[in-house]
């Protein structure tokens, strides 16, 4: 398959992406936080490029990070790869302590396996299923709220791995609220979560990434319109 080559030349980093994938955005943020020059290739998932299929033959999905022609797939794997390869530039995404690391990995899995599916279930489903998804998501969010009880960011004093992993929630909650009218959490019930969302979106690397909040609203509205709602 792909053999790792010793390349002392220029570091070439490509990211196969879509504008809407919550798993892609976290990689873009990581690359920006680490000041890694990169090229983004936006894919049309209905018409996947031969390159994407070559680099991710198993899952055929985005994101795929290609570093000097070598692909790495699965967003959580990519984040750890970036952190280990560009070690201190400017600071690590994951903590050094094994227990802290294990905890961040646990909550990262919680984000992707539990919170994200139930949140999007709440947005997309109808009737009883919508109500159930809402209750489940609220229960999950209460745990995240607790995680933030003594911390500025999910990763601690500064933005890190776990913030990038939960970043989809910070980034999409307000735009989706605007477009669908569905408000899942407010400042009164989730003060820590709302404060974290604001702080996260103000981090320069996050703020400067495309699409921004306004663009997201426009794009979500477009999707709604095209479905004839």
């Amino acid at each position: 398959m792909f053999k790792k080559s010793v390349n002392k030349g220029m570091e070439k980093v490509k990211l196969f992406a879509t504008w809407s994938s919550p798993f892609v955005k976290r990689i873009i943020w990581a690359l920006k936080l680490k000041n890694i020059e990169h090229e983004i290739i936006y894919e049309d998932l209905a018409n996947k490029s031969p390159e994407l299929l070559k680099y991710n033959p198993i899952h055929k999905k985005v994101p795929v990070l290609v570093h000097n022609e070598i692909p790495i797939c699965e967003s959580l794997v990519i984040l750890e790869y970036i952190d280990e390869t560009w070690k201190d530039a400017p600071r690590p995404l994951l903590p050094k302590d094994p227990l802290d690391k294990a905890n961040q990995r646990f909550w990262a899995k919680f984000s992707d396996d539990q919170v994200l599916p139930s949140f999007y279930g709440y947005i997309m489903k109808q009737g009883n299923e919508k109500e159930e998804a809402k209750e489940t998501t609220l229960a999950h969010l209460k745990r995240v709220e607790q995680l933030l009880s003594e911390k500025k960011f999910l990763s601690g004093e500064s933005v890190g791995f776990l913030d990038l992993v939960f970043g989809w929630l910070a980034e999409n909650s307000r735009p989706l609220e605007v477009v669908t009218g569905l408000k899942l959490f407010d400042e009164d019930s989730f003060p820590n979560l709302c404060a974290w969302r604001d702080k996260f979106l103000e981090v320069p690397a996050i703020k400067e990434s495309w699409p921004d909040q306004e663009t997201l609203i426009a794009k979500y509205q477009e999707i709604n319109l095209s479905k004839g709602k």
Partner: protein
């Protein structure tokens, strides 16, 4: 909990628990094994894994670590002076993580469906499961283990399913060895390691456990 620095909350037939037992054995770590009665979860289990209420849970110096793959990485990073379970360079580590993740996403559901579904659905499930195994077989290729010469994280993620193969082969009336001989050869190679052979229960014992559990559930 008096005196025990490392405690494992586990359930003997769990392939996820077995991953942790193999990792602990590879590192030569002494620990206090606490068998959990799963229908009747202990206070300790509920306290140490309030989110998922599942085994395995590793308790180290009073602090819990949950999720089998996360626990294995924790063990490797904490007891780092002996028998590394992860490769040393970032790219190969990413590969090991990718394949362990692939096993987690695909193997459990596909394996169980191949034995528990009926008729045409079962045939479809068997085909799907064999395809998944062939992908894994392809990744191992001519190497002794997933990542090369050394037994490690990705091998641990998959090998614990080996003792469950007999159960689903019997229920599904098919032979995994016939379809994926190289994969079985890899599994047998892993079984030559004491950490694996002493951890994996006998396949027939697993089968008896599974059949008893199903009859209790009225299936």
């Amino acid at each position: 909990m008096v005196g025990s620095e490392v405690i494992l909350l586990d359930f003997w037939p769990s392939m996820f628990g077995m991953r942790v037992r193999i990792a602990l054995a590879e590192k030569g770590i002494e620990y206090d094994y606490k068998e959990q009665d799963l229908p009747d979860k202990s206070t300790l289990l509920l306290e140490m894994n309030p989110v998922h209420k599942k085994i395995p849970v590793l308790i180290h110096k009073g602090k819990p670590i949950n999720e089998s793959c996360i626990i294995v990485q924790y063990i490797d990073e904490t007891w780092k002076d002996k028998s590394p379970l992860m490769p040393s360079d970032p790219y190969t580590r990413a590969q090991a993580r990718f394949w362990a993740d692939y096993v987690d996403k695909k193997v459990y559901d596909a394996l169980t469906k191949s034995g528990t579904l009926k008729g045409e659905e079962q045939e479809k499930a068997k085909k799907e499961f064999i395809e998944i195994l062939k992908v894994l077989e392809g990744q191992i290729g001519e190497k002794p283990y997933f990542m090369g010469e050394s037994f490690g994280y990705a091998d641990i993620a998959l090998v614990t399913f080996y003792c469950w193969f007999y159960t689903f082969e019997t229920l599904g009336n098919y032979s995994i060895e016939k379809e994926c001989p190289k994969l079985i050869a890899w599994a047998k190679r892993c079984m030559q390691r004491e950490s694996v052979s002493k951890t994996l229960p006998d396949s027939k014992k697993i089968y008896e456990f599974f059949m008893e559990m199903r009859s209790k559930l009225g299936l």
